[in-house]
Amino acid sequence: MLGFGVVKGLAVTLEHFVETYIDDLKYFPRRYSEEAMESRQRVNGRGIFTVQYPEQELTHAEAFRYIPFLVFDEDKDSVYEGIRCTSCGICAKVCPPQCIWIVRSLDADGRPIPQPAEFDIDIDVCMNCGYCAEYCPFDAIIMDHEWKLADYDRFDGHIHDLERLLKPASYYEKIRPIQYAENNLDEEEEEDEA
């Protein structure tokens, strides 16, 4: 019958429309509660799929990667001593768009010491591929979860320097608890073996 196909299609849209309200009843009277949002984002979620940004935010998985940052350990005397980076340069060499710039520290005799003197990442070139973090032997450079970076000017702040890049190990633990625990475990094992 002509027109039946269209009617069948309309039934689908009607079903979608009704379904959202049926799910809302479960959370009556708070349509957009945290609990409701979380259940609706799951693979078996039903109901309205919208996340009410900026009131609500979609959380990201641990593996999520955005612009990288450098880790410093807080148990050292100063931030500078706590920097895990040894300026070995692997991240700069493996970086596909070559957006990492490192100046190695030198001691008074001109011999290199394992500390970065300058460390710059051009976030306007960075492709968030995560190689720097993946191949860092010291767990010193980590991909961040911070994506709220929109601003009005790119010439003031899009080149992340050492000061901007450094974040404490506790922050690293907060955003990537599993990876942090695994790597800590590895270190302890190594120490035990030694």
Binding site: Q41, F49, P54, N128, A150
Partner: protein, 820 residues
């Protein structure tokens, strides 16, 4: 508006301007409130970021909540331009023109690293280092790509900016401050900004003076071993054993018997053909019954700088009826005026690819009907894929660059360029004398028109590169007789971001995240193809679990891609957004899985040579099972219920865009497009890669070859993909996910390899030549979207303009892959 203003005498303390402010603040609040929540963005997208922008408008992110859902296709109705993605030199004149056409007040958001400053493609010869070199930008959103939420954050930032404006200050109500139209950049030997002409002239004069000086210097120390500029050390030419294999020798003997001596020379498993006799050999290979090489899949050039003859053109042939291949043909051409006869008369699929080789390598193809530049523009100086071509931001022939470590003081590439832009001009060029070489439009002669009754004329219609339904920056030059299409020419290159040039400078591993940005709907599939091709040269064993994970990721990608294709196709048929919203929702759920497994929604960068990057948890697998076994089959049913019997869809698609199977094969069409015309050719079956030979699945086949079949085959294939997923998720073993040692440095043994996979869009191939170092000598992507376009004209002829859009939609092109 009449408002009582208190007179001076009553409030003598408050200065005059402040008194007005009290009133204006009230007006401003209302004025800005209205503008903040009614931003109309333009339907305008350039690259990968545009997908995230589109997704920001769909159910999960719902841009409508900010009052910004009313995307306008015309710049004259829009007040926000979202420059989302890589701005190429070929595209920037259009971007500026569109901006000029927008009425005030207008705002620009630079979305993503590329639009902000060139991004990962910054070093490319066809990429602009930031749209802010041309347009005033209000908000920058970093990220590659920014997530839809990051985009929304940018939108909120823009709203804040609007909130801070005052009606008394804004320039668009002031005659003296109104912006002049921005001069449109011109495509010369390189792009040039009319505002820079004087600076360019001065610089060129300086350069000419410098050149003479340098020449005298060079003469002075002619004996001194001064290294030539650019290539600092002699490149190591690829070399491998070329003693012929038995098959190659037998085939060569057969050809000699049939066609005469000396036509071909077997080299390893390839045949070297005399450049002038290609057609003869090609016809023999195509027409001989037991060879039947009917599919010319890949044509590409290689520059062996330092070898004589310098250039090589490589052809990969397959037989769809016998399932055999590849047979690799090679033709060599000298440095001076390289020429190889065109194979378009034997295999029309050579058409666009030969143009690409001409464009990038400068090898001419006598006999080609339309040998014009394709990715760049007529008038562009040089052939950029040649090894001795140096772009404006050229640093070193290979990565990693020495300037980054250990003395890596940050310097912007712009600061080293005299024009602080990504451009370079030939020394002898004079901007005053230059007239741009226009894209030649077909001129219609009134003589070849029927003169019955009313005198009509054909018209040439230009669709794109900015058009809401060309899937990005794609242009079609359509010759029309009334409403009927007489001829059509695809014009591409507006997203040509120099993937291959950058790829040859990159290390082997560095190319992996770049492949994500080819077909940005299918990063997992792109990764897989590249990993497989490189693994052909490397000797690595891939653990079982990694093999299964690869299949799972690639098949999810197929479902995702096919569902999105249906959504977009229906958009183009006028069923605006309902199907797209439903399919995007499912895509989001798959992307959640991707993000958890790989770290990124779209740019997964998940495969490595020898395995995959990260393992997945049991919880992940459970959710994947639920999706593959319960949710997605249900959603495919729902999609079919929504569409398959819909009378309007059927009326619009049945019998439209039909091509016969042999024409399709000859034009190099692969993938679902080919199976919709009844050719059972699926690489997973013909030449199983990975562990595809273990799975039980059908190759769906339809025979009408019209749009409806192209729609339906996607649904059927998505179902088969779910079947594979079901088996893969069932059979995935525990164990390691990576074979061998994870190394950031990688040397690949010298040799050449062509790896191909059944991509959701067709045959995705990577042709690689290694010289045994850490960087590929030749890195070529045979992209299905690009080559499927070869037959676009064939399919469109005789149809109406509205059908072209649908026919293009059914090919399912992604511009990142078309232009690379």
């Amino acid at each position: 508006m009449m408002v009582e203003v208190p007179s001076q005498s009553e409030v003598p303390e408050i200065p005059e301007e402040l008194q007005r402010n009290v009133l204006i603040t009230g007006v401003d609040t209302i004025y800005n409130w209205g503008r903040m929540y009614s931003i109309w963005p333009m339907v305008f997208g350039l690259a990968c970021c545009a997908i995230e922008f589109i997704v920001a408008g769909t159910a999960r992110y719902d841009m409508a909540r900010f009052g910004a859902e009313l995307a306008r296709a015309s710049p004259r109705q829009a007040d926000l331009m979202i420059v989302s993605g890589t701005v190429t030199k070929k595209m920037v004149p259009q971007v500026v023109r569109l901006h000029n056409q927008m009425p005030e007040p207008k705002y620009v958001i630079a979305m993503g690293a590329c639009a902000t400053a060139g991004g990962p493609f910054k070093e490319g010869y066809n990429v602009v280092s930031g749209i802010d070199k041309f347009l005033p930008v209000d908000v920058y959103i970093p990220g590659c790509p920014p997530t839809p939420q990051a985009f929304l954050q940018g939108l909120v930032k823009l709203q804040e900016k609007i909130k801070g404006q005052s009606v008394t200050q804004v320039p668009w109500y002031r005659k003296d401050q109104r912006d002049e139209a921005i001069p449109i950049p011109v495509l010369g030997p390189d792009i040039f900004d009319p505002r820079q002409v004087e600076a360019i002239k001065e610089e060129l004069v300086k350069q000419r003076a410098g050149e003479t000086q340098a020449e005298t210097e060079e003469e002075a120390d002619a004996n001194g071993a001064k290294p030539k500029k650019g290539i600092t050390k002699a490149p190591k030419l690829p070399q491998w054993d070329i003693s012929p294999t038995e098959e190659a020798q037998t085939l060569a003997d057969r050809i000699h018997q049939a066609l005469g001596e000396g036509l071909v020379t077997p080299e390893k498993d390839t045949l070297l053909v005399a450049p002038s006799r290609l057609i003869q050999v090609g016809e023999y290979l195509r027409d001989t019954q037991d060879l039947a090489y009917d599919l010319l899949s890949n044509v590409t050039g290689v520059d062996y700088l330092g070898r004589d003859p310098r250039f090589e053109v490589v052809y990969h042939l397959y037989s769809t009826s016998r399932g055999s291949g590849p047979l690799v043909l090679k033709a060599r051409a000298p440095e001076e005026d390289p020429q190889v006869s065109s194979l378009t008369s034997v295999w029309p699929s050579a058409d666009l690819q030969e143009r690409e080789v001409w464009d990038l390598y400068g090898i001419r193809f006598p006999g080609h009907p339309n040998l014009k530049r394709i990715l760049l523009w007529e008038g562009f100086y040089g052939h950029p894929m040649r090894k001795d071509y140096q772009e404006a931001y050229y640093e070193e022939p290979t990565k990693p660059f020495n300037s980054r470590w250990p003395g890596g003081h940050h310097t912007l590439a712009e600061s080293k360029n005299p024009y602080s832009r990504n451009s370079v001009y030939p020394k002898e060029w004079d901007p005053d004398e230059y007239t741009p070489v226009g894209e030649a439009l077909a001129v219609v002669d009134a003589k070849d028109l029927p003169r019955t009754g009313i005198r009509t004329e054909k018209i040439v219609l230009n669709m794109g590169p900015q058009h809401p339904s060309t899937h990005g920056v794609f242009r079609m030059v359509v010759t029309l007789d009334g409403e009927t299409v007489v001829d059509l020419e695809p014009v591409v290159g507006y997203l040509h971001r120099n993937h291959e040039k950058i790829g040859e400078r990159n290390g082997w591993l560095m190319n992996m995240p770049y492949t994500d940005r080819l077909d940005y709907f299918n990063s997992m599939g792109n990764n897989l193809g590249y990993a497989l091709a490189v693994e052909k040269l490397l000797d690595v064993e891939i653990p079982e679990r990694a093999e299964y994970l690869r299949v799972i990721m690639a098949e999810f990608n197929r479902v995702l891609s096919h569902m999105m294709m249906v959504g977009f196709l229906l958009n183009e048929l006028g069923a605006a957004f309902t199907p797209l919203f439903y399919t995007t929702k499912e895509r989001e759920l798959i992307l959640d899985l991707y993000e958890e497994a790989s770290g990124s929604r779209m740019m997964c960068n998940y495969m490595r040579f020898g395995g995959v990057a990260r393992d997945v948890s049991q919880d992940w697998l459970d959710r994947a099972c639920y999706l593959a076994r319960e949710r997605l089959p249900r959603k495919l049913d729902e999609l079919e219920q929504l569409l398959s019997d819909n009378e309007i869809l059927v009326a619009r698609t049945k019998g439209v865009g039909v091509i016969p199977p042999e024409v399709a094969v000859a034009h190099g069409i692969t993938g679902p497009m080919l199976r919709a015309v009844g050719v059972p050719y699926d690489i997973r079956r013909v030449e199983p890669y990975g562990i595809y030979d273990r799975f039980d699945f059908n190759v769906p086949l339809l025979h009408n070859g019209d749009l409806y079949d192209r729609y339906l085959i996607r649904i059927l294939e998505a179902r088969e993909a779910l079947k594979i997923l079901d088996q893969a998720l069932e059979g995935i073993p525990e164990g390691p996910i990576f074979g061998g040692r994870r190394a950031w440095q990688l040397r690949v043994p010298a040799g050449e390899a062509y790896g191909r996979i059944e991509h959701p869009k067709g045959e995705l191939g990577y042709y690689l030549v290694s010289n045994g170092t850490g960087n590929p000598w030749r890195y070529r992507v045979r992209s299905p979207s690009f080559i499927n376009l070869t037959a676009l004209a064939e399919m469109c002829k005789g149809h109406k303009v509205a059908d072209i859009i649908a026919i293009l939609g059914a090919i399912d092109i992604v511009l990142g892959e078309v232009d690379r």
